[in-house]
Amino acid sequence: MSSPMVSGILFCRRYSRFFFVLLVAALLAFPLLFPEDPYIMRVAINVILYSMLATSLNMINGYSGQFSIGHAAFYCIGAYTAAILSTRLGWGFWQCLPVSGLMAAFVSFFLSVPTARLKGVFLALCTIGFSEIVRLIALNWVSLTRGPMGMPGIPSPSVFGYEMLDNRELYYLILFLCSVCMFTCSRVLKSRLGRAWMAIREDELAARAMGIPTQRYKMYNFAFATFWAGVAGCFYAFMANFVSSDSFSNEESFAIISILLVGGQGFMAGGPVGALILTILPETIRFLAEYRQIVFGLAILFTMHFAPRGLVGKFVEWIARLDREAKDIDMSIGGGDI
């Protein structure tokens, strides 16, 4: 066996905590490296925002084995909730944040009551139809949402009365929200709830034989996951100061699912890795920006062919193959805390 490789991996494992701290430090220091570049900060904010959205979808598609392809619906609900509450009732960011999340989770119940018995493609079709319905309501309920004119005039987020206008400040805000989201998700996955979801993913009948009320747990799963999409929507509304229904089309759902598939569903690191690659790829290669959808489509084709479990899945398999000395890797949580 290639011993330098193995000892290298063992080294990485032993010092994984150290690498984690290094990553956190890098993320915190990042804006200081580019103090005068709003463009780079915007891209970085997008990467983190999409990491959060993909992680939220990961809870459904990656960990409970349900299959949603209409995740933009809940992002949309969160954004519009924040827009309406802030412009009509004068609510601030921190008041809107939990309400946006709860609103998305609440609406998810309406979807999961009729769909709790559906699986695979049938569930997927329902979610995409539902997403379209949500967008059309936002587009046509003019008295509430101003319809096609969109909702301008959303204030910027503020902390203790201090308004966050600068991209750098928004970067730290979304970094904070995404960290809370990922931390929460990983904790829930390592409890009885997460075990129930993964049991459903692996074999629904066996899960029922273990005393798990699968219908109910699938609904919890949808509600928990969509809460975070709603929170992300609230951030988006306050960041852009404007929402409009065409930001939440099926194209947006498709972007989120592409990110997750490329990164690797069922791995905590899947969302962030996918978001990093699929956000930066169309940005760096300038002429590709126009063809974002095509880039996403090709990226899915390539990963499905060369790494069916996504890039993180490939990485974990690669380590597992080299790392015979260490224990068999438990794929349940995959990337661990990160």
Partner: protein
Amino acid sequence: MPAETKIAQEILNAEILNTKEVSVHFGGLRAVEKVDMSVRRGTIHGIIGPNGAGKTTLFNALTGFQKLTAGKIFFRGADITGLPPEKIAARGMSRTFQNIKLFSALSVLENVRTGFHSKLKTGLFDALFHTFAYKRDESFATEKGLEILEWVGLRDQAETRAANLAYGTRRKLEIARALALDPDILLLDEPAAGMNPVETKELMKLIQVINETGRTIVVIEHDMKLIMNVCDYITVLNQGVKICEGPPSHIRKDPRVIEAYLGRSHSA
């Protein structure tokens, strides 16, 4: 004193599981037809019959996976007809599947820990803030899970992915996982299928040891040696109908049983 022994004997003999004219039809096919069966507490009860006799369908009916066409099922005196599988499982009836159903991407230990679901209380809040309840639940599941694995002889494979286990070992893990529910009655659907003679022998011993801890066992099996050696009582099904029942010594000599099995070997 004799009165006390008598009462104790009666409790011991009490019927834990009862079916009353249970029928399951698939269209015109009578997979299970008016089966009356009683399983006495603390016994090892065998169900035999040729392929397609309706044994698995009967198990599915008992555990709530299959709707009954007619009939009633009583578990510990209570009517459980029509309850969903998860409720029946939580009441203390657990099972294994003929076509093994493990959580294959999860580790051996995680498979067993999942079985503690209805014994634990952790909610969302507990999971997020690692409350006392969470810590107690998690350490309970780990300790008990390892204990069960030790018991069935899978302790040293606790971290292995279930998908990477050998076939016979998977069946063992399924039994371990079913034991996590701390069941009063354990239903095993062809546990020896695909096992080599050594593994089958170990399995026989395991079934007896589980039974000695006070659990009732119902086992479907084709391995006649296993059935005749470990069962206290046997029910024979053929084409959905119960054709005879009794202790092994009685079953062995019954002409209807011999005929049912001969009939199978003729058609095979």
